[in-house]
């Protein structure tokens, strides 16, 4: 590691702490929430933003110490594009397997037959 100006040091540290806290809370949600559909929320949102924040910190670090470096942005863009898709597919799989949900869940579907993929 090389010496950094004061502001960069503080800014990078802030993004690192913020990002790792978000990722930690996301994983905590994965462990702690009651049913599969609820657990799906935590990693798709919090972990993605946590990693995005760490990527911003890394971008800042390499831009300050070396020349301008933006290519970490590709990973962030890729993660933000793919997180909803994998969440959607996993939610589909969860509905297809008819996993149990907590008793708090209210089912407000008006036309449930529209969403089942069983053949008629």
């Amino acid at each position: 590691m090389t010496d950094l100006p004061q502001w960069a040091d503080l800014l990078i540290s802030f993004f690192l702490v913020l990002g790792s806290s978000f990722a930690f809370i996301g994983s905590l949600g994965l462990l702690r929430l009651p049913d599969f559909m609820a657990r799906l929320h935590a990693p798709t949102k919090n972990t993605t933003l946590g990693v995005g924040s760490v990527i911003i910190a890394s971008m800042l670090y390499f831009s300050v110490t070396d020349s301008l470096s933006l290519h970490e942005l590709l990973i962030a863009i890729f993660l933000f594009l793919t997180a909803p898709i994998s969440a959607h597919l996993l939610a589909k799989a969860g509905l297809h397997l008819e996993l149990e949900m907590t008793e708090n869940t209210r089912d407000l579907r008006k036309k449930p037959e529209q969403y089942s993929d069983k053949d008629h």
Binding site: D9, L16, G26, E72, L90, L99
Partner: protein
């Protein structure tokens, strides 16, 4: 300051990986395990980026990008398999 922040981040990501492993082992269903694997690859990608900052090299970037792409494809393939019992239709 940055050293402490990095150590803090390493610690939290390590704990996150540990919790994901507990979920991976406990299950109770297959989608839960796929979700745990998905989170594990995202967390380990962040660890790789942190390692790049720690060692002050950009060599870990390509590895992180590859993990992001292959992990997504793996998750989609596994979810597809659960949905249809078949990956390529």
């Amino acid at each position: 300051m940055l050293v402490y922040a990095l150590q803090f981040a390493f610690g939290l990501f390590g704990l996150s990986l540990l919790m994901n492993f507990i979920r991976l082992i406990r299950g109770p269903n297959l989608p839960d395990r796929i979700l745990a694997l998905d989170t594990i690859y995202i967390n380990s990608l962040a660890l790789l980026i942190l390692l790049g900052v720690w060692h002050n090299t950009a060599f870990y970037f390509e590895a992180a990008l590859l993990i992001a792409m292959l992990g997504f494809i793996g998750t989609v393939a596994a979810a597809k398999f659960l949905l249809r019992g078949d990956i390529i239709e």
